[in-house]
Each structure stands twice: as structure tokens, then as C-alpha cells.
């Protein structure tokens, strides 16, 4: 669990993080989106007690940053943006070192568990420097999880990975999500955020918005439903538009595009209206804007 209030970090005259107030409940996958230089990595460093805030407070897993720093570091796992390994040492030795530093009770057992889970067991004796980028990233993820942290910070976990490796890493994130860990995911991959995250925060020095991907779409673009008809015209659209909860309705080819807040509640009534007016309803679906559209819209407006 993560809770921040007015968290601010300044480097001289530059404000990297401003007045961040956020609450992430245990077990949630939280996507932290923002352009380069937005302060995402600084936020991760603040929340993992690597650096101290200029003002504001934060608690991670119940521990306060600035006073319980060692406990915070003990209870979180971090995949840094550029996760360097000890290239001359074997994969197994790399993890053994971290198991010792994280005071893991059964170091060898944990090392074996994660090397096997991430498909690296057969290569455990090879120097990490001989690994591909994808394998190194998996090794770094194993390193972040060795001590079974309650909260995991993943900074760009699939950046520069080939599609197959990225897929494997995403599947692994879903696996650890099932274990009930809180995951703080910094990513530029909006499709990834859409698929993995329960909620998303868009950040550019300060938090622009936080919500579920679905509600963010509604918030930025409104919810749009497409009614596919045998034949659509302006008269039918006007009837739909007359309904008080409909914000907009317009015919496009043989479809009527309707903007409204709560399609789950109001779609049946619209369908009844259309059918009652003689229209043949073939298909009804929600028009989904990509999260990228939402993100670009939000960042553009700041």
C-alpha cells in the first residue's frame, strides 16, 4: 500500500515532483504514465527511500519515508529503468548477492524459485554479461522479487524488449498481481498499461488525473456507443438525441453514434426506441478510444 500527501521534490530551482497526493491500495496494479522528464523515476526513488522529499509525506507498506527508510527498502522490490547486473558474475551469483543483502531466509531456495519461474535456471552458471537484453531484464525482475516484497516498483519493465520477451514479462507481471502484491508500474507502453493496470495516473511534474482506464476514456472523450442499423438516418438520430441523458447522437453511414455517460443503464431504452421506430438493430458496441488517445489529450492540455 502506498499513500502520499503533498509529496514534493525539488532539485535547486527545478521542481521534479510537485504536490503528489495519491493512495494505492494493497494488491492494485497502478500505472504511472508521463512523458520523459515528467518526474516518474524521481517519484519511484522517493517512494523507495532512495532520495528524500523536499516537503510532503509518504507511507509505503505502512512505513514513513524519511524515518523508516530501511524498512521500506526491505519491503519493496525495485526494477530500475536501467537495471545493471554484475556482468562478470553468474546469474545465480548475482541473485545470491541480493538475497544476502535483502536478508532472505532461504536464499538458495528463493534464487532457484525465481530462476526457474523466469526460465533462466538452465543458464544460471553463465555470466550475466553474456545474456540477451530480455534475459537480463528477467534476471533483474527476479532480483526485485527475491525477498517477496509487498510492493513492487517496475520502471519501464518491457522497454526495448522484443515482442516475445515483452509478452513473457507482462505475463509474469500478471502472475505476481495474482499473488496480491501492489505493483507500481511506470511505462510508456500505453497498451501495456491498459492491459495490466487497475488504475492509471497521468503525471507531468504533478498528477494530472487518476482513474481506471475505462473511466479515464469516459472522462476525456465521453462514452460513445455505436448502434449498427439496417438503415440509419438523421430522423432516427434526432429521436435518440431527444432523450435527456444523450449528449450527442449523429448518423454515420448505417450507424448512429451516441455519446452518453451510462450506456449500461440507457442502451436498452435506446434500442427499444430504435426498434419502436422501425429500425433493424444489427449490432451494438462501445467505441473505445485507445489509452494513447486519452494520454495524448491529457498531456496536450497541460
Amino acid at each position: 500500500m502506498i499513500k502520499t500527501e503533498g509529496l514534493t521534490k525539488k532539485f535547486g530551482p527545478i521542481t521534479a515532483v510537485e504536490d503528489l497526493t495519491l493512495e494505492i491500495p494493497a494488491g492494485e496494479v497502478f500505472g504511472f504514465l508521463g512523458p520523459n522528464g515528467a518526474g516518474k523515476t524521481t517519484t519511484v526513488r522517493l517512494l523507495t527511500s532512495l532520495i528524500g522529499p523536499t516537503s510532503g509525506t509518504a507511507r509505503v507498506n505502512g512505513y514513513a519515508i524519511g524515518t523508516d527508510d530501511t524498512n521500506i527498502r526491505r519491503s519493496v522490490g525495485v526494477l530500475t529503468e536501467t537495471p545493471g547486473m554484475y556482468d562478470n558474475l553468474s546469474a545465480e551469483r548475482n541473485l545470491q548477492i541480493y538475497a544476502s543483502l535483502y536478508e532472505v531466509k532461504d536464499p538458495q531456495g528463493q534464487v532457484e524459485k525465481y530462476l526457474r519461474m523466469l526460465g533462466l535456471w538452465e543458464r544460471r552458471s553463465d555470466p550475466a554479461g553474456t545474456f540477451s537484453k530480455g534475459m537480463k531484464q528477467k534476471l533483474a525482475i527476479a532480483r526485485a522479487l527475491l525477498h517477496e516484497p509487498h510492493t513492487v516498483f517496475l520502471d519501464e519493465p518491457t522497454s526495448a524488449l522484443d515482442p516475445e520477451s515483452a509478452h513473457l514479462v507482462r505475463d509474469f507481471i500478471l502472475e505476481i498481481k495474482k499473488e496480491g502484491r501492489t505493483i507500481f508500474l511506470c511505462t510508456h507502453n500505453l497498451d501495456e498499461a491498459d492491459r495490466l493496470c487497475d488504475r492509471i495516473g497521468v503525471f507531468k511534474t504533478h498528477l494530472l488525473v487518476v482513474d481506471t482506464p475505462t473511466r479515464l476514456r469516459a472522462q476525456v472523450f465521453g462514452r460513445k456507443v455505436v448502434f449498427h442499423l439496417q438503415k440509419a438516418d438523421e430522423a432516427l438520430a434526432a429521436q435518440v438525441r431527444a432523450l435527456k441523458y444523450v449528449k450527442e447522437a449523429r448518423p454515420i453511414d448505417n450507424k448512429i453514434l451516441v455519446t452518453l455517460d451510462d450506456p449500461e443503464t440507457h442502451n436498452p431504452e435506446i434500442i427499444r426506441l430504435l426498434v419502436g421506430s422501425g429500425a433493424d438493430v444489427q449490432f451494438v458496441g462501445e467505441l473505445r478510444h485507445s489509452l494513447e488517445d486519452v494520454y495524448l489529450q491529457l498531456v496536450k492540455n497541460t
Binding site: F11, R45, T48, L50, I51, G52, T70, N71, R73, R74, V76, V78, T80, T82, P83, G84, M85, Y86, D87, N88, L89, R93, I97, Y98, S100, L101, Y102, E103, A140, R143, A144
Partner: protein, 263 residues
Amino acid sequence: MDKIKTIILKEWAEVFKNRFVLFTVAFLPLIMTAIPIAILVTLRGEAGLESVSSEMPAQFTAFCPADLSGGECFQVYLVSQFMIMFMIVPLAIPATISSYSIVGEKTTHSLEPLLATPITTAELLVGKSLAAAIPAVLATWLGFAVFAAGAWILIPNKALFAAILDLRWLLAIFLVGPLMAIMAVNLSVMVSSRVNDPRVAEQISMVVILPVLVAFFGQLAGLFLINRQLILATGGVLIVLDMIMVYLAVRLFQRETILTRWK
């Protein structure tokens, strides 16, 4: 304590795979031990030494034990010169190791994951410092032991042996040497905060050997004599300098400073 041990073993496993570091650690004590032994071998039974002994600085002649001949005093003098050079070992080895271990972590991006663990800054700094200082001190002591064994075999006159390996050198090796190693490590930590290339860090850190060169040429030119008092005074100055440098290095070696300013 376990974490310090982990850091030390990690440093050694990583750094000693670097051929350049390994070469410095192995070659430097070897050459510095071989030179004074070679001098002893060359001068053994040399008849012409009596005539050149007048070339020694007057201070040194006065310092030479009365029961030694002029030629034997000259042997003590020559070996003493190279024993000063031997003090480069506890300076150069830690400068090399810590330059690679700290700047190396920066260049390979392994420092941030390390700092994200529950290890304290003090544990990390102590671990890295000991990893650099221990091999230097051990190499110095081992080299000196090899020299002492060689001298014992090569010098039949035990009064000459005692003059060559007198208390001055025992103090230098066992007191000043470790203090020099600590200074070199801390200087490297400070230098590492400003550079991104281990070779540059090492080259700058090597400035610590300058006082040894000054001592070498100073005694050679007869400007001063390295006696017991000077070595004890050097030890005292080094204790103070080390305390100042440890304080500065600890101040500099903070997580936030390392992550946000060590570019």
C-alpha cells in the same frame, strides 16, 4: 556484518575479473619486492662499496649503526631508498580497486539496485573500502615478508640485516601502510563522485603517490632523512588526514548524492 562481508566478496569476485586490476595488484608488489632483493643480490660481496660509501648524505652516515662498515652502510642506504618506493603499494592498489568498484558500478548501472536494498550507507562504504584496502595491506605485508625472508638468506651479517629491517620499516609497513591505504580509498571515493570513467578515476586517485615520490627524491637529494621520528610523525598526520577524508567521503557517499549528482 553479513552485508559488509557480502559486499567485500562481491567486490573481489567482480573486480579481480578485471585483468588490469589483477595486474596492478599482483605486479606492483612483485616488482617493489624484487628491486630491493635484486640490490642485495647485486651488492653481495661487492668490494668497491667502501669507496662509494662516501657519496652517502652525511645525515645518513651519522644514522648508520657504528658496528657496520662503510660498504654495509651503503647497502642500508640503497635498500632504504627502495623501501620508500615500496610504500607505493598500499596507495596504488586501493586506488585502482576502488576506482573500478565505485565508478564501475556507475557505468554498469548496478549502483541504484544496490542502493535500493536495505544495506545502510555505512555498511556499503565500509564494505567497498575494506574490499579495496585489505588486498593492498595484505599485498604490502606479503611483499615485505618475502623481502625480509630474502634479506635473511642473502645477508650473512645479522647486524646488517637488523639495520636494513629496523623499526622504521616495521612502523612504515605495519602502521603507515594501512593508514595510507585508507587515505587512498577515501580519495578514490571522492574522485569517483566526479568522474564517469574508472581509468580517469584511477589516474586522478594516483596523485596520492606523489608524497612517496617526494620522500624518495628528498632523501636521495639529502634534503631530509627518513628516520623513526619522521615515520611516526607521518603516521600521526595520516591518522588526522584519514579522519578528515573518511568524514568527507561519508558526507559525499549518500544515496541521494550518488543518484542525483554522480553523473
